[in-house]
């Protein structure tokens, strides 16, 4: 059934369909409508869950960490400074290997205060050991939430489902609301490997030594480094599991495709624009316009930012005459983080093959600065014509 709702509602409906047991959240714009929705579902009895109105984002994730450790399927959501305030807990959740799903409704971070969209918040959490998935429309938001629970629980790694604040969170558009029965078929109840319980006492996340150590049975147990190595190793193999999730989802719901990247008119393209989130759909409009000028250009949305699908990206960009990376965040002091990651993927897979494309970087929409489609098209056109700058170019800057 298709409904017309805003992006936050799409996320909330996804969480409801996944039958999350424990939800904890602290209000922050533009996440609030999402968690308000969930509190409505819980209070009205539409959803059987515990909704905890915590006193901070740090506590929101604390509740989720503890609830997940006790065996619950959990959810939280935040934005901007809320996510930054959580940072310690974000690292804790992945180190504890808890399948938490959190929506990040992307918003600029302070200072100065700004409530509008960019992606500095989630990008700054890149190295926390979470899976990060970016959405470009409401269908992707609701479907990704559902897939995220399956994947997170399969690999025991938490997932951030990221979508642009306001641009998606507060915009209404139609999307298919999956049937509960189908979601139930896709996503079985959470069966944790271990859940805190007095009949099988275990002490979780204790101090762990630099070196390995014998356990009470005389078996050699990991040191801190082994535990952290396994997180990295399993994040890398998560790419395969994500493909499995996508296939499984497509089998039941009849939609879905390549989980890592979303190419549009890329096959015959000489130039490819790359980005994360809703800007990649906007770029489709630019691509269509430039195609009318006989410029062979395509756009590739990157769905998984972590684990980074380096091979899929390199394969898709092999032999292109140019790659133009559009970002709503920057690694201050250098360039866009995606730009750096993308260049390293290309270098790894294409260096010396003669098919290594040159790459350029645009920064756009920082702090909600409107990205006019004409400006975006113009930037793309200019980058295709010649190298614009060695440094990242800020679109729409009025200095």
């Amino acid at each position: 059934m298709h409904i017309i709702e805003d992006g936050n509602s799409a996320a909330a409906l996804g969480v409801k369909l996944c039958r999350a047991n424990v939800i904890a959240a602290y209000p922050i714009t533009p996440q609030t409508p999402l968690t308000e929705r969930l509190s409505e579902y819980v209070e009205s009895g539409e959803m059987k869950a515990e909704y905890i109105p915590v006193e901070s984002e740090h506590s929101a994730l604390a509740v989720c960490i503890a609830a997940s450790s006790a065996g619950a399927r959990v959810f939280t959501a935040t934005s901007a400074n809320g996510l930054l305030y959580m940072h310690e807990q974000v690292q804790w959740a992945s180190g504890a290997r808890l399948p938490i799903v959190m929506c990040v409704v992307n918003r600029a971070v302070g200072a100065p205060w700004n409530v509008w969209n960019d992606q500095q918040d989630s990008i700054s959490q890149r190295d926390t050991g979470w899976i990060q998935i970016y959405c470009a429309d409401h269908q992707q938001i609701i479907d990704t939430v559902i897939k995220a629970y399956w994947l997170a629980e399969k690999v025991s790694i938490p997932i951030m489902v990221c979508y642009d604040g306001y641009i998606l969170s507060h915009t209404y558009m139609p999307f298919d609301l999956p049937d509960q029965e189908k979601v139930d078929a896709f996503l079985p109840p959470f069966q944790p490997e271990y859940a805190l319980n007095p009949d099988e006492p275990a002490n979780l996340n204790t101090v762990t030594l630099p070196d390995v150590r014998l356990d009470v049975q005389g078996e050699l147990a990991h040191g801190y480094m082994e535990i952290r190595y396994l997180l990295q190793e399993e994040l890398r193999t998560t790419l395969k599991t994500a493909a499995e999730a996508e296939k499984r989802f497509a089998g039941i719901f009849g939609r879905g495709g390549d989980p890592y990247i979303e190419p549009y008119r890329c096959d015959d393209a000489d130039y490819v624009a790359v980005g994360l989130g809703s800007i990649t759909y906007q770029l489709r409009v630019c691509v269509d316009a430039l195609r009318k000028e006989s410029i062979k250009v395509g756009v590739m949305g990157i769905r998984y930012y972590r684990p980074f699908p380096d091979e899929a990206i390199a394969n898709a960009l092999k032999g292109k005459k140019g790659v133009i990376v559009f970002e709503k965040a920057i690694s201050y002091g250098y360039e866009g983080a995606l730009m750096s990651d993308l260049k390293s993927a290309l270098y790894e897979h294409l260096a010396g093959t003669g098919s290594l494309p040159p790459v350029q970087n645009f920064i756009a929409g920082i702090g909600g600065r409107e990205i006019r489609t004409d400006d975006l098209t113009q930037a793309l056109r200019a980058a295709i014509k010649s190298r614009v700058s060695k440094e990242p170019t800020w679109i729409g800057l009025k200095l």
Partner: protein, 186 residues
């Protein structure tokens, strides 16, 4: 007006329900076969009484451009006093339509190059039994009279569905009366 892709900009005040009105029209459009429907309120801090804008794009195909409307085909103004506070015709395409809630006569306005439709929705809504100031359903009737876009029946259904727990009949009655009484110019 190109009926494959229509851009409607709504001008109201915080709390007046412009978003709900746009959402009803969006729903009716989607059911009528417009696969692409995107409704986006002004982003930021919404304060009751302050002027607000909402963008509604209706397209036969999925819409990928979510940026605010720059050149609307139609502007809907829920309060005639907004004419003094906001440049409601900004970017309006030549020959574009203005749907205006006003107690004043149609003749008292002179919008060059645009087509004006007026009705006293505030009075009509009270007549339909709604509380004073609730104009977001009535204005839909005026919009349909002025544009002939989706058919009044479809919109009435949308209104009654949206307001199913909050006086659906009175709300749809306001739209019906407004549809009858709207004065639309050429």
């Amino acid at each position: 007006m190109n009926k494959d892709f229509i851009e409607i900009r709504w001008h109201g005040r915080g709390g007046q329900g412009a978003i709900t009105a746009a959402k009803i029209v969006a729903g009716a459009a989607f059911i009528s076969g417009y696969a692409g429907v995107v409704m986006a309120p002004t982003f930021g801090t919404e304060r009751r009484g302050a002027p607000v804008m909402t963008s509604l794009k209706i397209s036969k195909e999925k819409i990928y451009d979510l940026t605010p409307i720059e050149t609307p085909d139609i502007v809907v103004v829920l309060d005639h006093l907004l004419l003094k506070e906001a440049n409601v015709t900004h970017g309006l395409k030549p020959g574009g339509i203005i749907v205006l809630n006003t107690p004043k006569a149609h003749e008292s306005y002179n919008f060059k190059n645009f087509r004006l439709a007026t009705a006293d929705i505030t009075a009509i809504s009270v007549e339909a039994g709604l509380p004073h100031g609730m104009v977001n359903t009535g204005i839909i009737g005026s919009l349909e009279r002025a544009t002939n876009l989706l058919g009044i029946e479809m919109l009435i259904k949308g209104i009654e569905n949206e307001f199913r727990t909050r006086k659906p009949q009175k709300n749809s009655l306001a739209a019906k009366i407004a549809f009858e009484r709207t004065v639309a110019g050429d």
